[in-house]
């Protein structure tokens, strides 16, 4: 089960994820992010405060989405990871290819 919220802060669209991002829910998240980027909002912040689990399928969507944002001239950021998900992200080295921040404020401060 996963819920997705969306709000805008200046030039950044914040996509708030709640629940599990796995093989069943990841396609919905991917479609949502692609929809955002396709309408011209190329800076996307994934707020993961409510994300309780992320599988390999979920991580692949993070990568595909980051690539899409980059190719469109923007970038994807992640913030507010819970400890278990943070461990998964760091073990797999995703924090070296996607900007990860402790909270929304820290992430938004990096966007001019």
């Amino acid at each position: 089960m996963m819920n997705i919220g969306e709000e805008k802060s200046d030039s950044v669209v914040i996509v708030a994820i709640e629940g599990r991002v796995d093989g069943t829910t990841a396609p919905e998240l991917e479609n949502r992010i692609l929809e955002v980027v396709d309408r011209g909002d190329v800076n996307v912040l994934l707020d993961c405060a409510g994300m309780t689990y992320v599988s390999s399928a979920g991580l692949r969507i993070f990568l595909t989405s980051a690539r899409k944002c980059q190719q469109s001239g923007g970038r994807l950021m992640i913030c507010s990871l819970q400890p278990d998900c943070k461990t998964v992200i760091e073990t797999s080295g995703f924090h070296t290819v996607i900007d990860c921040h402790d909270n929304r404020e820290a992430a938004l401060a990096t966007v001019s």
Binding site: D22, G23, T24, P27, Y53, S55, S56, A57, L59, R60, L63, T64, A66, R67, Q70, V88, T91, S92, G93, F94, T96, V97, I98
Partner: protein, 217 residues
């Protein structure tokens, strides 16, 4: 469309001679097992996390070794992690390899030649007759490793497999490999199945080294 098994086998073959580059049998087994799992993962049939491998959809994908393996995973009574499945599937490596080679011959990418040596022994070689597919894979690999761009997950997967069996040396010079090693290390961590394949190969290599050291003493 080529599977990861097809792509990594093309990279493992010496194009002109049609024989396999020198790769340890156990390494080839783990790499082919990982390639099958990557094919199933990218077809949304399985999903993984550090502690388990889960079936999402048991619908066959249309490749016989993959579909048989998917059925085995589906009907297995115990939950196992990715590494355990890589070890199990690696025992079927020769069948996975033969079926993929047959398919690459059918599609006109390779040709199959049988040669005799010492009058009795027979060996099969697979020279490349259409190199476009392999060139395309190599282009994808160089594109990712020579840039800072966010990689496509499919390119990450093939780089993991190629690095695990040490065949990037067939794509890059030794000097280039040393220069891009930090990028290779960054990329190969991004795929969990690829990480588990590398881990399994490293364990075998360490065991062999330990046995050799022990034998010398």
């Amino acid at each position: 469309m080529l599977t990861f098994v097809d792509e990594i086998l093309l990279l493992m073959l010496d194009d002109e001679k049609g024989s396999f580059l020198p790769i340890r049998e156990s390494t080839m087994g783990y790499v082919l097992a990982g390639a099958v799992l990557m094919d199933l993962a990218f077809a949304n049939r399985i999903d993984t996390d550090p502690s388990q491998l889960m079936v999402l959809d048991k619908t066959p994908i249309g490749h016989s070794p993959h579909d048989r393996i998917l059925e085995n995973i589906t009907t297995s009574n115990e939950t196992r992690d990715t590494k355990a499945w890589i070890e199990t599937i690696s025992r079927e490596a020769s069948e996975i390899r033969e079926q993929s080679l047959a398919s690459l011959v059918d599609t006109g990418i390779l040709e199959s030649q049988e040669e005799k040596f010492l009058w009795v022994f027979r060996a099969r070689r697979y020279p490349t007759i259409d190199g476009r597919a392999e060139r395309e894979v190599k282009l994808r690999i160089t594109g990712v490793l020579l840039s800072d761009e966010t990689p496509d997950p499919k390119d990450v997967a093939i780089i993991c497999l190629a690095d695990a069996c040490n065949i990037l040396r067939d794509v890059f010079s030794e000097r280039e490999i040393n220069r891009i090693r930090p990028r290779i290390d960054q990329i190969r961590k991004l795929d969990l199945i690829g990480r588990e394949v590398s881990g399994a190969i490293q364990e075998i290599e360490q065991a062999i080294m330990a046995a050799m050291t022990h034998a010398h003493h």
